[in-house]
């Protein structure tokens, strides 16, 4: 066996926080513009170029906002779980930052999913809130996001905190399906999932705006996530500089 000097592969090069800062600044503007264009197309379809449902009427259009948010509420947790593996196994600082930046965004999208869902539920089911399985498990997911955001704020040492939070995030990721199952077992009213393995169970006139809106919201998340990651890296640098400055003025030699 020959001993090779370990050269960083393309991924760890790109994922170095400093390198990330320099390449990501060229990405934000294009991503934001792309998000905006997708939103314009998606909203045009959603409001002007899709039929009202024969049962639900115009309220069906709430779905074009609700379903993308519900999808993001779960995707963001998935992204946090993957980042958690990255920060536990490789102790990668960028994975920490990705995990931290995703938590408030996930909470916001989950809150929007709950809010739009209840706006839709009022005319359709005749109630703002129902203790239905899917709604309850989304609410539980929201509480978990809030807990994680609060946990990040209590740690002074962010890099040690990141690993502990990663452990908790992963246990939560394993638990979410169990919670979902148990809550659905407990009470179910929500309609079955509309996106199945064999395609969408809806006519293309409704599916088209929905898919475009899901793409638009996903792009929105990635744009916001990138901005949040950048400001988190810069916040950490600012904190380090501040600490250095204090040490120097207090006369403590490094």
């Amino acid at each position: 066996m020959s001993v090779q000097a370990k050269t960083p592969n393309w991924f760890s090069k790109l994922a170095h926080p400093g390198v990330f800062l320099s390449w990501s600044q060229h990405w934000i503007m294009p991503l934001a513009v792309l998000t905006l264009i997708t939103f314009v197309i998606g909203l045009y379809y959603a409001f002007f170029n899709s039929p009202a449902d024969y049962q639900m009427g115009e309220t069906v259009r709430i779905m074009y906002i609700h379903v993308p948010n519900a999808w993001l509420s779960q995707m963001v947790y998935g992204l946090m779980a993957v980042s958690a593996i990255g920060s536990l196994v490789w102790r990668h600082p960028l994975a920490d930052v990705a995990m931290k930046a995703a938590a408030p965004l996930g909470a916001a999208f989950t809150a929007l999913a709950l809010f739009t869902g209840s706006l839709w539920g009022r005319p359709t089911w005749g109630t703002f809130w129902e203790w239905d399985g899917r709604m309850t498990s989304t609410l539980v997911l929201f509480l978990m996001y809030i807990g994680l955001v609060a946990l990040w704020q209590t740690f002074n040492d962010q890099s040690r905190g990141a690993r502990i939070i990663a452990i908790f995030t992963l246990v939560g990721a394993i638990n979410i399906p169990i919670i979902k199952f148990s809550v659905e077992w407990w009470n179910t009213l929500h309609q079955p999932s509309i996106i199945k393995a064999d395609g969408l169970s809806m006519p293309p006139s409704i599916a088209t705006p929905l898919v475009i809106m899901m793409l638009a919201f996903t792009l929105l998340f990635f744009t916001l996530h990138m901005i949040a990651m950048r400001s988190e890296i810069q916040r950490r640098r600012a904190n380090n500089l501040e600490r250095q400055h204090i040490n120097q003025t207090m006369g403590i030699s490094q």
């Binding site: 509480l143 807990g147 994680l148 946990l151 209590t154 740690f155 502990i164 939070i165 452990i167 169990i178």
Partner: protein, 221 residues
């Protein structure tokens, strides 16, 4: 194995000689049982119907109450650091501490349940089913609670954070625990909730100690 039992006896001795904590916990548990009827009103039928739910909520809240002391004192005086170099793994030590914690906090609550059962007018089948469900469900509550405690062990202003983190994860215990009582004591007895509750408890007890040990090790670095 000696080391394993030594940890259990140590933790129980510490709890008994320091005193107070178990009594506080019992008082808290019983107080919730007193407050609920006052809030709901002395309606015998309604109370009997709500009794399993009240007992479960009381048990859940009391198990969250004792959390913050689980690892913090060992962390502060350096015991936790020493335990990492023990003969047995930190996971085994965690497991021993969980057993001790269950004996100190959960078992007294289950023993005190008859008092609440009388005050809430429970009938015998419901009472027995509740005891069974508590025996099966509290190990999961203790393990999940310990996970919260291990995550918050280094936090100076941790306090309330562990319960907030843990509460969502305990949802399955609550759901299957109360369903166990209702289905066993109800007219059409079925044991599916009982099986789910046992499965959840077993899975938590089997896997979460590894996560707790990992969190404790990270905290001591």
């Amino acid at each position: 194995m000696n080391a394993f039992f030594a940890i259990i006896t140590r933790d129980i001795k510490l709890a008994l000689r320091n005193g107070g904590s178990t009594i506080t916990l019992l008082a808290f548990f019983l107080t919730i049982g007193v407050i609920m009827p006052i809030a709901i009103g002395p309606n015998k039928q309604l109370l009997a119907e709500l009794a399993p739910a009240i007992i479960w909520v009381a048990a859940l809240l009391s198990s969250l109450l004792g959390l913050d002391r689980l690892f913090i004192s060992d962390h502060e005086d350096g015991t936790l650091l020493g335990l990492q170099h023990a003969q047995i793994s930190l996971t085994a030590i965690t497991f021993a501490k969980l057993i001790a914690h269950w004996l100190i906090t959960a078992l007294p609550l289950i023993l005190a349940t008859p008092v609440l059962a009388v005050m809430l007018f429970m009938d015998m089948p419901t009472f027995l089913a509740t005891i069974l469900a508590l025996l099966l469900g509290t190990p999961a509550l203790v393990t999940l609670g310990a996970l919260g405690a291990s995550v918050a062990v280094t936090l100076k202003r941790g306090g309330i954070i562990a319960p907030i983190l843990i509460m969502p994860l305990t949802m399955p215990v609550l759901i299957f625990g109360i369903s166990t009582t209702n289905s066993l004591a109800g007219p059409d007895a079925s044991n599916s909730a009982l099986l789910f509750l046992s499965a959840f408890s077993l899975l938590s007890v089997a896997f979460i100690p590894f996560a707790i040990a990992l969190a404790l090790r990270t905290a001591e670095e």
